[in-house]
Symmetry: C2
Amino acid sequence: MTTPSAVILLSGGLDSATVLALARAEGRKCYCLTVSYGQRHSIELDAAKRVSGSLRCEDHKFISVDLTLFGGSALTDDIAVPKDSVGEGIPITYVPARNTVMLSLALAYAETLGAHEIWVGVNAVDYSGYPDCRPEYVQAFQTMARLATKAGVEGQALSIRAPLIHWTKTEIIRRGLDLGVDYGITHSCYDPTPEGRACGRCDSCLIRGRAFAELGMTDPALLPL
Amino acid sequence: MTTPSAVILLSGGLDSATVLALARAEGRKCYCLTVSYGQRHSIELDAAKRVSGSLRCEDHKFISVDLTLFGGSALTDDIAVPKDSVGEGIPITYVPARNTVMLSLALAYAETLGAHEIWVGVNAVDYSGYPDCRPEYVQAFQTMARLATKAGVEGQALSIRAPLIHWTKTEIIRRGLDLGVDYGITHSCYDPTPEGRACGRCDSCLIRGRAFAELGMTDPALLPL
């Protein structure tokens, strides 16, 4: 039996680093894809490079698509990132159709490789405000993807693997630490310092920080260099 | 009642030009989106500009995403385009996940605009070899898109309109001519001459040419300038 290949969507953040480690632990040949959608921070791309370098991957591709052309989010526009409290509802850091665009590009990559799995770090627990992080969304994307592709037409099922979807941030980190993930090289902050350090105050930093605290740790991304 | 807005995927070819004319005829405010996915021919982009200029549109955005990074198609790679016969099965001009990528970008644009429709010129009759041109695919994309977006979560249905899906090429052209579409400014050829003229011999040219012939016409894209 040949080793199954998988495309891994890798942002450089905590979640996708854990997903890559999980896919490796399940014996997948991992082809990483990082989508640059007009983020303000090339820091994220550098983090993605560090993560794929630290775990064994077959290849790592970077693709750009400038979603700032459409506007509509604090992550791509000049809207201030909210600080010091985790909001309710759909956050303004939501990027329109981001996961759909990223999964579509992963689908193109998977189809070219002949890979039958796409792994993605979406999570419905800590980020329930994002519509495209829910299990019913992932399921619907998979149904669509199976109809979209040559492989699907030829009867080979394509799977969207979202192993973190029901895990808390604490569970994600605990599992990643078991697998040897170095979270110090990941980057999840929405509003880093000019030196590229996590701010410690945006939604993303607060959620990470609390989860590490539950494990009796300090988020290594917040430790002095 | 406000005029409904729609995103129109506009390639510059015969089908999408007709779709734009249909959306205009149904009173939509049209926001055109042309996706440059690493095509060899900027001729297609020029044709898209001509088409949106000739019909009244609110805006026309161009977005690039380099699917050549993944390889896998005669339209983006250096594989020879087949000539003089319309093939069976999935053609080698198939671009992996192209419609999924283009519809995803249209979804991002629609969500930013607050538009509830995406119009696309997919057609299951003449191009039955492409899996992502089938009605069940379009339906599955719509289901996924409704789950993906803020508008969907808030109960506003998003529709993928594919009015040409069951029409023959002849029916498409007849309807477009009724609506005043100038097919001489469209470009559908897979392998144009260095001067940017249609070759008259690739699948796409042959299918167009036959349809115009059925209407007792010569394809205006093949007429001498």
